[in-house]
């Protein structure tokens, strides 16, 4: 389920079937140094991954709007806010919470997070539209799907 009117209408009717919350973590910066490209690619990948996971598991995954953070910011603060999101979401019957990120900085805070952190190393450069990258991403996504299914 996506954060749009049609999906939410459907979600309200079938809440009990949608037991998995997926929160994509989207890094952002306006600091145009050599890091910026990497951060942008991470963001694009997050979008591709989360929308594809939502498409494949539409009836069971609720995809929230991306949690956007300054890539330099203190992750401790971010964790606090994220846990508030989760707390709020738990009013609905969610059994599983996943955070999706390509940013290794979150890894250190994993134990404080109220949910499972799915961190993956990302392609750092190269063309996201090239056939080779596409098939690699597809492959990665199907592995993530397996991982999520193992929690169900």
């Amino acid at each position: 389920m996506q954060w749009n009117k049609d999906d939410i209408k459907q979600y309200i009717e079938v809440t009990e079937y949608v037991d998995t919350l997926l929160i994509p973590l989207m890094p952002f910066t306006m600091n145009m140094d050599k890091q910026v490209e990497k951060i942008v690619v991470q963001g694009e990948l997050i979008k591709i991954f989360s929308s594809e996971l939502e498409r494949r598991f539409k009836g069971r995954i609720f995809l929230t709007p991306s949690f956007t953070y300054l890539s330099e910011s203190d992750k401790g603060n971010g964790v606090e806010q994220l846990n508030k999101w989760v707390e709020e979401a738990m009013d609905n019957p969610f059994k599983h919470v996943f955070f999706l990120t390509f940013d290794a900085q979150w890894k250190k805070f994993e134990s404080k997070m109220n949910g499972n952190l799915l961190w993956f190393p990302s392609v750092q450069s190269g063309d996201l539209n090239s056939e080779a990258t596409k098939s690699m991403i597809k492959d990665q996504i199907s592995q993530v799907m397996e991982l999520i299914r193992s929690y169900w």
């Binding site: 459907q10 949608v18 498409r55 598991f57 009836g59 069971r60 299914r149």
Partner: protein, 169 residues
């Protein structure tokens, strides 16, 4: 009144102008009506929506997943959308292209997606199942059979159109 030039009389002048103006107004009203009346004839035929997706001789009796992309125009943006179908030849040689979208809550089903049911489609979300012909297995969550893509074959190429629910076939 001797020099009676070829003058336009007041009556004629009014006649001309009123017919002219009235004609325009009439046309302005009629044109859209005519447009609406013949609209179905002007619509690009459904043929245009068909996409070549595979060669017929690659299709076996085992369902295969075929992906293709279409340009989808939503209200605010245009995007390239990947579509998928499970395609196979039925026993009487016909081609059946099933939509992979589960009729329960819209997840994507896979052929042989479950170890236990090797000759069925399986939905990973809530264990919905469908027989090979796309009909839902009773007592699993889905309440309807998988949608079927309209298809046609030209020169050995398979074209797929829109997915339609079973009842409408």
């Amino acid at each position: 009144m001797s020099e009676k030039r070829k003058q336009v009389s007041r009556r004629q002048f009014l006649n001309y102008t009123l017919t002219g103006v009235g004609g325009f107004m009439g046309a302005a009203m009629l044109a859209p009506m005519v447009r609406f009346a013949i609209d179905p004839a002007l619509q690009t035929s459904a043929q245009g929506d068909f996409k070549a997706v595979a060669q017929v001789d690659e299709i076996t009796t085992e369902p295969q997943r075929i992906d293709w992309t279409i340009d989808q125009v939503d209200a605010w943006y245009e995007s390239e959308v990947t579509k998928s179908a499970w395609v196979y030849k039925t026993e009487d040689g016909d081609i059946l292209a099933l939509s992979p979208v589960c009729k329960h809550l819209g997840c994507v089903v896979t052929w042989q997606g479950s170890e236990e049911y090797q000759d069925q489609f399986f939905c990973p979300c809530h264990d919905g199942r469908y027989y090979k012909d796309g009909v839902n297995v009773p007592n699993t969550p889905p309440a309807a059979a998988l949608d079927v893509f309209q298809h046609k074959v030209e020169d050995g190429t398979l074209y797929l159109g829109k997915a339609v629910p079973r009842e409408e076939l």
